[in-house]
Point group: C2
Chain length 342, copies 2
């Protein structure tokens, strides 16, 4: 392995000088510079980033913590995050927690271990409050994206979940539906809470009652949503919903498939709306009406805020006010609710 020392002796200069040309951190005479560059090429030298990191206490690495990389929602956030980070000379590493609190805790430790300089967290759940609170206590450079924890008061960028749900519900109501069910996601998620509230608000405002059975969980996944739909469809006729709002598109596809298996036509017998607007929602065979979540934007903004924090000297971090950005969402009307998209 060749080190800075090898380059120094090969070019007949001090290691300091090599370091200076490597980092362009002070003037070095053209002749020496050339000799150094030459030596670097000849010996095919690559500086050791770990040693450098130890010295300057920075890793030039950002981490993105996601609950499930397999969920098509996250890759777009990841991409945005990478693009913004790359621009600033950071590498981003994606960490998958599988919604597991222990793995989240492990990920967070990377910050204190010095392996990563900042973190974007998309996995905040109520059950993780304790460990997340520590981030705040230590004033570690993190920003929450998509999910957040109410009352924690840390930088975050989320989407307008409440109004998204209101829009979805009103759309259904406008189409004449009265019996609309709301299929939530993981428990302890502020997202589910807000969207459910939006749904309840819209129903109430329109003067329609909500049967308790209509508030059900599809876990934001295909299979549970499929099953929950069957449960819903077994309700007595007067309570059986004619429309279902699912917390995300993947779950909504579970709803659609359950309808298919039950010989129910979508949207005639059952209307469905999702959240996210994944690629697949737009395929001709699916044409899912959904609330588009600006996930690229979510990732981008979160990363930019994080980068901003990392620029400031430590002192200012505490002084600066907390950012909380709420991005607007948009109802994309397609075919699964009938109406003008049909």
């Amino acid at each position: 392995m060749t080190t800075i020392k090898d380059i120094a002796s090969h070019a007949k200069v001090s290691v300091a000088t090599v370091s200076y040309v490597l980092n362009n951190t002070r003037y070095v005479s053209p002749e020496k510079k050339e000799r150094i560059l030459q030596a670097i090429r000849e010996l095919d030298y690559v500086p050791n980033a770990v040693a450098r990191g130890l010295r300057v206490r920075r890793s030039q690495t950002l981490s993105l913590v996601v609950a499930d990389i397999t969920n098509p929602f996250y890759p777009d956030i990841a991409k945005a995050c990478e693009e913004a980070a790359q621009e600033a000379g950071y590498l981003v590493n994606i960490i998958n927690t599988n919604e597991d609190g222990q793995r989240l805790a492990d990920a967070l430790r990377l910050l204190r271990e010095g392996k990563t300089d900042g973190m974007i967290i998309t996995t905040a759940l109520e059950k993780d409050r304790t460990v997340l609170q520590e981030l705040k206590d230590y004033a570690l450079p993190v920003v929450f994206a998509h999910r957040e924890l109410p009352g924690l008061d840390m930088d975050s960028v989320v989407s307008d979940n409440f109004n998204g749900a209101v829009a979805a519900t009103n759309h259904l109501l406008g189409l004449g539906h009265r019996k609309v069910a709301f299929m939530g996601g993981v428990e302890g998620s502020e997202i589910t809470r807000l969207r459910r509230e939006g749904y309840v608000f819209a129903m109430r405002q329109a003067g329609f009652a909500i049967e308790p059975e209509w508030l059900i969980s599809g876990e934001a996944r295909y299979e549970p949503s499929y099953l929950a739909t069957r449960t819903l469809m077994e309700l007595e006729a007067s309570k059986r919903p004619t429309a279902i709002i699912n917390i995300n598109d993947v779950g909504a596809i579970g709803v659609i498939d359950a309808a298919y298996d039950l010989r129910l036509r979508v949207p005639d017998d059952l209307a469905v709306v999702g959240f996210d607007d994944l690629f697949i929602a737009n395929s001709r065979q699916i044409q899912l009406t959904t609330v588009r979540i600006p996930r690229y934007e979510l990732g981008k903004r979160a990363t930019l805020i994080l980068l901003e924090k990392l620029k400031k000297p430590d002192r200012e971090v505490d002084v600066k006010p907390t950012n909380r950005i709420v991005l607007p969402v948009e109802l994309i009307v397609r075919r699964t609710c009938g109406g003008r998209g049909a």
Copy 2:
């Protein structure tokens, strides 16, 4: 920031002793051990992984290089990779290259910079041969997964692309199709080459001619595949294919959507088969017949081989024979070709 020195002085022992209990690397008397553990708790000490890494020249990090994290193919590989790595005490960071040779080169540098201990590469393309060849020259610990470079002779785990294509083609032929087109993926990909060969082989063996126009590229993406399908459908009737094999499921959905827009019924007017067997291929609305690629297995095996390499002392690496594992694939018959899945 609290360091090992703080713990040592707080517990009134030497830093060496602290290190020994931290790593469980030699006997320490119970009293001292307890004092040290106590100090660690009291000061809430977390060892600096960068300093440790510099000293032991290991980062306990693996990297997975993917071409496009947004493609639902990769997250499954990532998950497998993470699970295997985690088991062995490694963290994995996913690096997205966007199929960009420069970003691949940057990623590979991490190995020599000491930021990562080993790498799983899923982005090998002909154009990257030079930079990939260097990995071999330096005997760096990498393994190729999914994609490989012929003649490079490095560890790799791939799927049986040739036979998958043969199976897909024969299935179509068995259903009575004679005019089947093959829509390839990115250029310079060994995967495309092998599958195309499998297709050609099966067609030849059955004694059917292949029109040059039938070998077209859909770039393994939705939009280009959509467009390519329209091109194909504009051929004069005698050449117009009645079936299309797409290099992947995402592209196959583009084919299906194009057919829909052209008022062609799938499978009656046009049969389509994909590769991958993504989650969405199984939804009721799509029911795509496809060649299942064992991507979880791909990621798992590749990671295990990599881990194995990392266990050996450097010397043995060169001596050990190259692994090349070819995993079997399976044709999943559903609805888009008609026949028994219809």
